[in-house]
Structures are given as C-alpha cells and as structure tokens.
Amino acid sequence: MTDAPAPSTPDPASVDRELRELADKQAALGEMRGAPAADPVNAPMIRHWQDALGDANPAYLDQGVAPPAMIQVWTMQGLRQHAAKDRSPVDDTLAALNAHGYTGVVATNCEQTYHRYVRLGERLTPSTRFTSLVGPKRTALGEGYFATWNVTWYGEADEPVAEMMFRILKFRPRTSQGPSSAAPPSETAGSEAAKPQETGRREPYPLRPAVNADTAFFWEGVQQGELRIQRCADCGELRHPPGPVCPACRSTNRTHTVASGHGTVYSYVVHHHPPVPGRETPFVVAVVELPEGVRIVGNIVDCPTDAVSIGMSLRVTYRALDDELVLPMWAPGES
C-alpha cells in the first residue's frame, strides 16, 4: 500500500507573505484619483436623503449645503458600477484575500472628518489610498485580515473637503476551516485581544527613527498617512526637521500642517557603499523640496537610480518596513 501524496495546501506563511507584498505594493501606489462625481452636490438628492433618514434639519437646504454624513453618497457608483470601474488601489488586495479563502467581509470602522460643508453645485472627486493590511488575526468570525483604506474628497479648487478612514475584516468563514478559538465579539483591529499568529510576522527592520517630544507628531502623522510639517503657532513659519524653537521668532509654541505630498528633487545621492542593515544597494537618498517651502530627506523608490534627476516631480508614498515601522518615501509623480 502506497501513501497517496497529501493534497498540496499552500503554506500559511507564504500566503501571508504574498498578501503582505501585494498590500505593500498597493499602499505604495499612494493616493489614486477616482472619477469625479456623476452629479454635482444637489438639492433633490439632499431632500431625498433627509426624507429617507427622517432628518428634519432645515439648515442644509436653507444654507445651500449638504449634510456632512452624505459625503460618500456624492461619489457612489450606483447602478453604473459595472460600467468603466475606477481603478482603485484596494481592489487587488481584496481579490487576493478572496482567492486565499478569506471570502467573508464585515466592516469594522468608519471615520469621517469634514473640513467644511460642501455646497450645492460643487462636483467632488474622490481619491483613495490603501493604508494597511493587518493580520492574520483570530476573530470571533474566523481568522482574518483587517484592510484599511482612506478616501479624500476634493472640491473643484482641488482642496480636500472631507476624509474617511474605512476598515473591513476579511475573514475565512468557519465552515471551511473547522473550529478555531473564538475571540470576544467586541474585537476590532485595534483590540489587544487580537493576538497576531506567530507565522508570517516580519523580521523587525533593524533601524528605528528617533521619536521624541519634538518629532512624535511627525511619526504619528506617518502612521495615518499624513506628511506633517511643524509650524510655529505664533508666527506661522514652517520648519523641518522639527525642533523646539522657531528659528524666525524664537517662540516655543508649535503646531503642524499637513503637506500636500508633492515635491521635487532638490538634490540627491545614489548610495552604493557601505552596506546598510536591512537595505539593498544601490538606493537613492534625496533632499526633496516641498511646495510648502521646506525640504525633507527621504528615499526615492519605484524609479531606477539612473533615472533620478534634479527637479523631477515626486509624490510621497508610505512604505511599511516591518509590522510596525512605516517610512514616508518618494515616488515619481506628475507635478
């Protein structure tokens, strides 16, 4: 009697690696513009929405603005969803999760910030970036990955009017996996109860940024996909790298602004030697000039080293170096 070969099941660590690589690639695409809304912000849709939700607030139509929580409505694809679908940096990751059996989906978080109320007649444009894939984690529903993306809506003057963070759990439904130890139902992405499995953890990147009272805001911004620049809370002067005192007015009161994420190469070097832990040479280190008026040092990625030139346009991108550390880097972009 001969043993039949065991059916080949993909090694969980390699599935995890593949998903992470794809998620990193999607995150590296940065913000991708979708098609503008089919219709400008308009009174009939607002009236219909208020009627359906039982919202009697007269302020919106009196003042010619939309209810802020309608923000996503303006750029829903509706029944046109099968026509020319926008390319979104989220789709490929979700498709790969489905392909690996993580077919269940449940939304866990929706966070919206409204910079201002949008007005009748404005046509909004959404922009989506894939932010993170966290997992695999044991949840009450089954083993799964938390996928997070961010949408920013822009007005006609190209200014952000609202932002949304959206997180879903893609899980492997129980039946296809057998019993697994259930976590409490209250579990979400941030919960301590969600213990990552041992498999698939990435090697910690050996170099860490120095995070201190002066720089913490910058790294917190990076975690949220924001490039934050320190600003003097008194005279308004921007400064980078961050420091305790304003070089213009010597005030110690500080705040920050969020940069647009555009930049140009001010200067750069191609690093060949010596070796740097955790990095493959050659790589590019650039001084990037931001339109906001400060310069910032960072790597240029997604570009052959000999294609980098002074003055070239860049777009910020956020790269996960391990399970915790994300660094802002720069990729070629249109100006």
Partner: protein, 137 residues
C-alpha cells in the same frame, strides 16, 4: 427650530434617546437615498442566501443616522466636524435601532458626544461625534 448654544450644554449630560423602527421601507429607502444598490440592502432572498436573517441597514445610513441623532438634539446651528463609528452587529429590517448619547468632552470650542446605537442583537454602532455649537447670543 430650537438650537443649542455652547453655554446650554454640560459635560456628562445625556442626550434624549431616539428610537427608529427599522421597517423594510426604511432600510430600502435609505439604501437607495445613499446610492447603495448592494442587494443585501433591498433584496430579502439575496440577503438570506448569503446567510443574513433579512435585509439590513447600509453603513452610509448608519453614519447619517448618527449625525441625525446628534443634530436632532443640537439643532440646526451645530456644525459637525467628525464622526468616528465602530460597527457592530447588523441592523436588520424588523428590528428597532435606539440611540443614546452622552457629552464626554468639551475642549477648544469642540464638543464630543459618545453615541451608542443598539438593536436587539446588541450594539450596531458605537462611536463619537465631534461638533461645535454657536456661542450664546
């Protein structure tokens, strides 16, 4: 319509409860008003085929109802800055969605209200909504 001013609210005070009867009409009309044509929000058979008890409220509506709950209380002069919602159990047609809320912080002119929307299965949505109120005239 009544509108609250900053001086009229106290940290820790509770908002009046709002309870909404989730008829199929509510679930379907809100899904369509939010341009969400996913079958699970209007087609009972499709919803059941994928393991749901019935059609259920879509997320855009949940966000809208959280906003409505707070503006019903605060009045038309309130400006909503931020809504952060953690989503829980589905809100099925035939159930009731009851909102409760408490003022949990008051800083730099911004008020934060903690909101909880419960259905018979448990918490459908919990979170915070941040707003500003006009100052007293």
């Amino acid at each position: 319509m009544r509108t609250l001013t900053e001086d009229q609210v106290e940290l820790g005070s509770a908002l009046p409860e709002l309870s909404i009867d989730l008829t199929p009409t509510v679930v379907v009309s809100t899904a369509l008003a939010t341009m969400d044509f996913t079958p699970v929000h209007h087609d009972v058979e499709r919803a059941r085929a994928q393991g749901s008890k019935d059609i259920f409220l879509n997320i855009l509506t949940t966000m809208g109802l959280v906003e409505r709950y707070v503006t019903d209380w605060a009045g038309p002069a309130a400006i909503i800055r931020r809504i952060n919602v953690k989503l829980g159990v589905p809100a099925y047609a035939g159930d009731r969605l009851s909102f409760t809320g408490t003022i949990v912080s008051r800083a730099a002119g911004e008020l934060t209200v903690e909101v909880r929307g419960k259905v018979s299965l448990g918490d459908h949505a919990t979170g915070t909504i941040t707003l500003t109120l006009p100052t007293a005239p």
